[in-house]
């Protein structure tokens, strides 16, 4: 059961996206990469909104599109849902009408919540009879999600559906997506360009940049790779740690930024930080500006810490020596 793109290429104007990968269609796959790299285009292609220029697209063993045999199943017949960044609610229908549009078109055999159930689950019951024009950004996101879930797709693609949200509401929406995917047994493929969200949500990661799939695979593997790290801003550099190894960790994993990790050469005592990991110094790297990047192999996995040259000199760190990584819970 998978989604497979073979030698696929899509073109929109001057931009060309190529893809050749296979991803499992279960759990949550996150499509990650810098803005303008082709993440949304990848989703639109999988949904059938862009035509392949070359190659083939298989979904759950069925050919959705194959250029050489001129096979092409339309977006309406793929069983793949898509939540757009801008929600795209239908202005001539109420909130209820929008969700019913999906409900009345789903195959009878597909099991999915009815309008009232999903409305209760996503806390939009009070909005049902309102026109869509004066909903807030967060309300629009939830209505678009409700509409897509009710359509009972076999895979739900989400193109930065929380772009309109900020801070706490964004995090709440993320948690909602994760829970919903599990409750409904609904595989999701979610686009984001925030590395914390990748760590928290992803079972599987597809990294996309400059029109290419850079790497893909299980989140715990991909997020440690150098080509993945190369996509990050300098201050985002860090490591993925399993959520269960972190105090109050949520979701699948937590992204621990190198800038938020203290390094100690002796076991720290009497401190407030909840996360103290003991490990062996695996590598020491001097960055261009002189900062030192230390990688510590701990039982929670590799942890990166960025320290100043002065601190590095004081601690007298050496590869193979024992060290402690310390992180405040609030820094995560």
């Amino acid at each position: 059961m998978s989604l497979k793109l073979k030698d696929a290429a899509v073109r929109r104007g001057a931009f060309r996206l190529t893809a050749d990968f296979e991803a499992p269609t279960e759990g949550i796959t996150v499509v990650f990469g810098p803005s303008g790299g082709g993440k949304s285009m990848l989703l639109a292609t999988i949904a059938g909104l862009h035509k392949l220029e070359t190659g083939r697209l298989n979904f759950k063993g069925k050919v959705m599109e194959e250029v050489s045999t001129k096979t092409r199943i339309g977006p309406h017949a793929r069983g793949i849902g898509l939540v757009f960044q801008d929600a795209r609610l239908f202005p001539h229908r109420t909130v209820r009408g929008n969700i019913q549009y999906a409900e009345s078109r789903r195959p009878a055999a597909r099991n999915a919540p009815i309008v009232t159930e999903i409305a209760r689950r996503l806390e939009i019951e009070d909005l049902l009879d309102r026109p869509v024009r004066n909903l807030s950004g967060g309300e629009r996101s939830r209505v678009a999600l409700a509409r897509a879930v009710v359509s009972a797709p076999e895979l739900l693609l989400l193109d930065e559906p929380f772009a309109a949200l900020d801070g706490r509401r964004r995090h709440a929406f993320l948690t909602l997506l994760r829970d919903l995917s599990r409750e409904q047994g609904l595989p999701m493929m979610i686009v984001t360009h925030q590395v914390d969200e990748v760590a928290e949500l992803a079972d599987h990661v597809i990294a996309v940049s400059q029109g290419r799939v850079i790497c893909h695979g299980a989140a715990s593997d991909v997020m440690h790779r150098a080509d993945f790290a190369a996509l990050l801003d300098r201050r985002d550099l860090g490591a993925r740690v399993d959520a269960k190894s972190v105090a109050n960790g949520q979701g699948g994993g937590v992204w621990v930024r190198a800038d938020s990790v203290l390094l100690a050469s002796e076991e720290p005592r009497g401190i407030s930080a909840r996360n103290v990991w003991r490990g062996r110094i695996a590598s020491i790297l001097r960055e261009q500006d002189g900062s030192i990047l230390v990688s510590l192999a701990t039982e929670a996995g590799y942890i990166l810490s960025r320290i100043t040259p002065e601190a590095f000199a004081d601690l007298e760190l050496q590869e193979g020596a024992t060290g402690w990584a310390v992180v405040k819970s609030h820094a995560l």
Partner: protein
Amino acid sequence: MVPAMLTAEEMQILATSLGVAGRAVVFSLPVAIAFAWALSRSKFPGKWIIDAIAHLPLVLPPVLVGYLLLLLFGVRGPIGSWLRDAFGIQLAFTAEGAALATAVMAFPLMVRAIRLSFEAADSSLFEAAAVLRAGPWDRFWSMALPLAWPGVLAGAVTAFAAGLGEFGAVITFASNVEGQTQTIPLAIYSALQTPNGEETALRLAAISMTAAITGLVLAELLQRWARRRLEA
């Protein structure tokens, strides 16, 4: 307009006009929607031909349109004779014929209004409908048409108002038969040809203007109402 203010004859003329224009709109509306839809879609081979056909009545002299209809739909014309033999229908010199001539003349107006409205619809919404399992036909009926509704209504009402005043094509194809094909403009023309007919002509002119202005105001109101409804 209070009916009591009109004479029986004027009521008859007004009824003929409304009937002709009404039938013209009802029968040409589906065709106009189809043309407008085809023209609003991205390029396809032969698009310019459809575009030209839709606009032809706008640039041809109305008398010529009436004459062409006579050649095609007249009793001895290729389509006219077939209609008569197969269905016993005669169009030339009848109220139905007047409706046909009116429909042809009002066609470009209707296509234009509807086409603009199809083009103004946000096509990203069609994509959203597609990924909710709506196929191409479904998208037309459930998205394109409801979203274009203001333009369709406005096009129909404008065509109706214009249809009330169609002269050249109607008189050529359907003639000027009192009680059957004599619409308001034809009646005004007849009155002006009659000695001392000026008062009749003026009264008819007032009726004509009232009907036309009512139509235009109605079209504008409908459009405003519908636009408000669709504001996202």
